[in-house]
């Protein structure tokens, strides 16, 4: 017999043109259905508002009902919607003793900055936990900024990582900085 978890989890994402009341609209549905917003991250990207939520509900619960109720409010708000059921083994809080680093990359905009940097990081075993990119500057001189929070493998240092990214830095003519931001616990 399989071990059925007591709580069901869903990954919900909602994206659409920004306006007031999006969060309230989504939250109202979740509240009414008795869902719990476990983790969430919502932000404005260009003029779009993007929500990613991990939602939980005790058994029994219908994903169809969750989807249909959210779809109804998303249609009203003009937002796209995706709902995915998470398996029990996907819902774990990852504990890490790794060093957490902020990796900043910026320079003249060009194709492939994200790809080249993240490919290098993946090859080095660096796990990205948070990633923000932004196109800034002027239309004549666009500048690309990428900020990454990443766990670096044991035995690696920020200086070592920065050195390993040195070739890429030269090749792309971008600035790459690595600094420790591992939280200090009091």
């Amino acid at each position: 017999m399989t071990n059925q978890p007591e709580t069901l989890h869903y990954a919900v994402s909602v994206v659409g043109k920004d306006r007031t009341g999006i969060v309230a609209g989504i939250a109202e549905v979740l509240f009414r259905l008795g869902c719990n917003i476990a983790d969430s991250s919502c932000t404005m990207l260009a003029g779009e508002f993007a929500m990613i939520l991990i939602v939980s509900h005790p058994r029994p619960f219908s994903k169809t009902k969750l989807h249909d109720e959210l779809k109804s409010v998303c249609d009203t708000l003009g937002m796209s919607l995706a709902v995915r059921t998470l398996h029990a083994d996907e819902v774990v809080r990852k504990e890490t003793s790794d060093e957490i680093c902020m990796i900043s990359v910026y320079g003249a905009d060009q194709p492939g900055i994200v790809y080249r940097v993240t490919r290098e990081l993946a090859a080095l075993g660096v796990n990205i936990m948070d990633l923000n990119t932004k196109l800034i500057g002027t239309p004549e001189e666009p500048v690309y900024v990428m900020m990454l929070e990443a766990a670096i493998p044991e035995g690696q240092t920020p200086e070592g990582l920065e050195a390993l990214l040195g070739n890429l830095k030269k090749e792309l003519s971008v600035e790459i900085g690595v600094r420790i931001i591992t939280p200090v616990a009091f």
Binding site: S41, T43, M44, A46, G47, R93, M102, D130, N132, K134, I136, V145, M147, E149, I181, T182, P183, V184, A185, F186
Partner: protein, 168 residues
């Protein structure tokens, strides 16, 4: 008493402004011992404030000498009764967490150097100039004495670059 369990928010004592210690007696000295035991029991703990073990008094202990962030610049074990910051200088951001608010961290801005005046457990007055990580630890613990959690001071939880820019 041995080390005490660390209270977690939403325990109400963590949001109360603590009372000043009027007389430093054996009770206070034993409170300091409890705080030290509790600090030493927590793996990697660099400080504990009295409200974190349920006592609403202006007492805290700090010791960053075993921490990799503080081992090169510290005053050893500090037992502070009625501590007051009389001068502060500089500002720096550090990502903080707290035993009373587990599983959450955030970027907090604090003074990089402080002058703190307090009483020792034997009643004698002392003034120190702390900087760097030790200064941050002292400010974090002293905030507890005013019912302030690092959550009240978080500047950003994620990188925010030009978030306010509007798009045409």
């Amino acid at each position: 008493m041995p080390n005490q369990p660390i209270l977690r928010y939403p325990h109400p004592v963590l949001k109360k402004v603590c009372n000043r210690v009027v007389r430093i007696d054996a009770t206070i000295q034993s409170l300091v011992d409890d705080l030290l035991d509790t600090m030493h029991a927590g793996p990697g703990s660099v400080g504990v404030a009295a409200p974190q073990i349920g006592v609403s008094l202006r007492v805290c202990v700090v010791d960053v000498s075993n921490s990799r962030h503080g081992r090169d610049n510290h005053h050893g074990q500090l037992c502070m009764i009625n501590p007051e910051i009389v001068a502060r200088d500089g500002l720096a951001v550090m990502r903080e967490g707290c035993m009373s608010v587990p599983d959450y961290t955030g970027d907090v801005e604090r003074a990089t150097a402080i002058t703190v005046r307090f009483s020792e457990p034997d009643g004698s007055p002392r003034e120190i100039e702390a900087s760097g990580f030790e200064a941050v630890a002292i400010q974090h613990e002293m905030d507890h004495l005013d019912g302030i959690l690092f959550l009240d001071r978080i500047m950003s939880i994620k990188t925010g670059l030009f978030r306010r820019k509007s798009y045409a």
